[in-house]
């Protein structure tokens, strides 16, 4: 069997590792700027699909299908992002006789509409956040929306029907703010998704984000997993995920699992998917949306259940029956936490930091898993999401997992681009995080007022840094005798410059 991975970066490498372990051949696709990317090196085959902008490469359904045909691939794994939740792509694969490793095009389309998904949840008897069930098209006058808003009650959220990741979403505290919010949301939704329809949802007070991973085979078996909590978000983007959630009791876990499974059955869901919920302060949960694909944060579930979700995606797609023990999937073994390491500068409002990674040392040892898409020399292109690695720490309990992550972060070294590592070093020492006292608004609230650097340096650090810089320059110019000046690439070219740095 041969699988084309219609993605790049760490998730493409993750899927190819599963292929290699299963004895399947993997086919990489790449854009022009990704020719030397790790997923191209890792694959058994690699094919160019177009220029660097995603619209001309990783989002080109026609080229992907054509490459899959040419390569004689049997199946396509979409990863996450790009075309992973694109019904047309799933359909195109099916039409081309390719196994699409995910749910059917119709289910993707159904859950892609946030209002249709809410209705499906209601049919399955799952509570949804109070709101309107029918979308408002671009032409619905604002006063009609205002009437519905009064019903829903303030504060509320104006959300894009085709939305996701906080795009086309606006918070509204009172009726006066509504018209402007509707205008803004419609505009953003129209440009981002080509669909300006919106709907209204009550805004819960400081909810936690808790989601249920499910696997569903082609024979009607659905297995829900222990929950993941993803409340540590920056501008609606998850940055830390963990399993299990401190806020979920065993009873609540079973309740959420049961309802998630019934929702999946209701819509005829197959393969891997995630039902995202909000959990309020009183322990009530509400359906938020369903992601019809593998999640970025799937490793934390794998670490506490021992189940390889990607291998199961492939086995399900080729018709195998789920033989997992449901109890095992629902019973967390220890605790796992994932830190998303982005090429961003946390000390500059998390500005993306594209460039070339000139040096890399990854952590290892007990309880550490590093799912990376880069090596020393890899480029972080400006064209795509800047996630470079997912660092996951496992421990018998949450404090042990945190301790291992701190240790691993102290070993991690990435040079050439700025990363969010300093941010995580800070976050993991915060009392609110250690004690689990957080909700989806926690991080943005803290960051709003924060100005200091995330990894402050002590005087001793600064002194060591100054001495190290001096010694390094001293070595680079070969001033030191006795073989201590093992000069790196280009040292001699650089010598002149460093000489000039001396007083």
């Amino acid at each position: 069997m041969k699988i084309l991975v219609a993605n790049r970066g760490e998730i493409a490498v993750r899927v190819m590792r599963a292929c290699r372990e299963m004895g399947l051949r993997s086919v990489a696709v790449y854009s022009e700027c990704d020719r030397d990317a790790q997923h191209v090196r890792y694959a058994d085959e690699a094919h160019l699909i177009g220029p660097s902008p995603a619209l001309e490469s990783y989002l080109r359904i026609d080229r992907l299908i054509e490459v899959a045909r040419r390569a004689g691939a049997d199946a396509v794994h979409p990863g996450y992002g790009f075309l992973a939740e694109n019904a047309a792509f799933a359909q195109a694969c099916a039409d081309a006789g390719l196994l699409f490793i995910g749910p059917s095009a119709s289910v993707i389309a159904l859950m892609g509409s946030k209002t249709a998904a809410r209705q499906a949840a209601l049919r399955a008897g799952m509570p949804v956040v109070p709101g309107v069930e029918e979308p408002f098209g671009a032409d619905v006058p604002v006063d009609a929306i205002a009437a519905a808003a009064a019903q829903v009650g303030y504060p509320l959220l104006v959300k894009a029907v085709a939305g996701g990741g906080g795009k086309g979403m606006r918070g509204v505290d009172n009726a006066d703010e509504l018209p402007a919010a509707v205008r803004a949301a419609r505009g953003e939704a129209g440009s981002a998704f080509g669909d300006a329809s919106i709907y209204l949802e009550r805004r819960l007070d400081r909810p936690r984000h808790v989601e249920i991973q499910i696997l569903a085979d082609l024979h009607g078996t659905v297995i829900p997993f222990v929950e993941r909590e993803c409340s540590i978000q920056r501008r609606h983007q998850k940055v830390v995920e963990e399993a299990p959630s401190l806020a979920v009791t065993p009873e609540l876990r079973r309740a959420m699992a049961t309802q998630a499974a019934s929702l999946a059955k209701t819509v005829g869901y197959t393969n891997a998917g995630t039902i995202e919920c909000l959990l309020d302060a009183d322990g009530r949960f509400y359906f938020l949306e369903m992601n019809t694909r593998l999640q970025v944060e799937h490793p934390v579930t794998e670490m506490v259940t021992g189940v390889d979700l990607v291998q199961w995606q492939i086995r399900i797609a080729r018709g195998e029956r789920l033989t997992l023990d449901p109890e095992r999937a629902l019973t967390p073994r220890g605790h796992a936490i994932e830190c998303r390491i982005y090429a961003e500068d946390p000390d500059r409002q998390f500005m993306p930091s594209p460039g070339t990674i000139v040096a890399l040392r990854a952590p290892a040892g007990p309880g550490i898993r590093d799912d990376s898409g880069v090596t020393a020399g890899s480029a972080v292109p400006v064209f795509y999401d800047s996630l470079i690695s997912k660092l996951v720490g496992w421990g018998p309990d949450r404090p042990a997992a945190i301790a291992r992550l701190k240790r691993a972060l102290s070993e991690y070294r990435i040079a050439g681009v700025r990363t969010t590592i300093p941010f995580f070093r800070w976050l993991l020492t915060q009392a609110e995080f250690a004690e689990g006292r957080f909700d989806t608004t926690f991080l943005d609230r803290v960051l709003a007022t924060r100005t200091e650097p995330f990894s402050p340096a002590s005087d001793a650090d600064e002194e060591i840094a100054a001495m190290a810089a001096a010694l390094d320059a001293y070595f680079r110019v070969g001033a030191a005798a006795g073989g201590q000046a093992r000069a790196p690439e280009g040292a001699w070219k650089r010598a002149a410059r460093v000489e000039s740095l001396r007083s």
């Binding site: 500059r348 190290a468 001096a470």
Partner: protein, 175 residues
């Protein structure tokens, strides 16, 4: 023979001199920092990472990577943090201050990478305060706020919503 460096870290300039220590002990150096003499034992690995020991300071051990950022500036990676160091009083950029920052004078806000302007939040004449967002540029699937670093008044706005921009494109000037 000793070599002298002026090195600035986090806004503070330090004078560091390096000379070989006991010739019998390879890797031994005498490093003087701001007048304080320290004996250091140093090795440089294949990848360039330094192992620095302080035999006279309880054998304290530091595994340090020094990576050039160009323009006489290096980034020093320690287990606990990373620091920029600049030679010869070239000012090391501080963490938390935009690249467009200078101690004074006008602020030229430029696009850090190719992308699309999604929001323009100021108009010419507006008074702005430090960290106030001026423009939002969408790039790498993220909306990135470009902010002012100091008080000032907006002199010119060359960005409009939806406008695609190349890296380095001037967007706003704050005087």
């Amino acid at each position: 023979m000793s070599t002298r460096f002026e090195i600035e870290v986090n806004g503070r300039s330090r004078t560091v001199t390096v000379e070989r220590g006991d010739p019998a002990a390879a890797g031994r150096f005498l490093v003087n920092i701001d007048g304080r003499q320290r004996v250091v034992d140093v090795r440089r690995g294949l990848t360039g990472a330094l192992s620095i020991l302080f035999p006279d300071d309880g054998g304290a051990s530091y595994d340090v990577a020094v990576v050039s950022s160009g323009r006489g500036e290096v980034t020093v990676h320690l287990p606990s943090t990373s620091l920029r160091a600049a030679f010869n009083g070239r000012r090391a950029r501080q963490a938390g201050t935009p690249g467009s920052d200078g101690a004074s004078g006008e602020q030229r806000i430029v696009a850090p990478m190719p992308g699309r302007v999604v929001r323009v939040l100021v108009a010419p004449g507006d008074e702005v305060v430090p960290r106030q967002p001026l423009v939002v540029v969408e790039a790498m699937k993220m909306e990135n706020e470009l902010s002012a670093s100091r008080n000032g008044r907006v002199k010119d706005v060359q960005a409009s919503e939806g406008m695609p921009v190349e890296a380095g494109k001037l967007l706003v000037i704050v005087g």
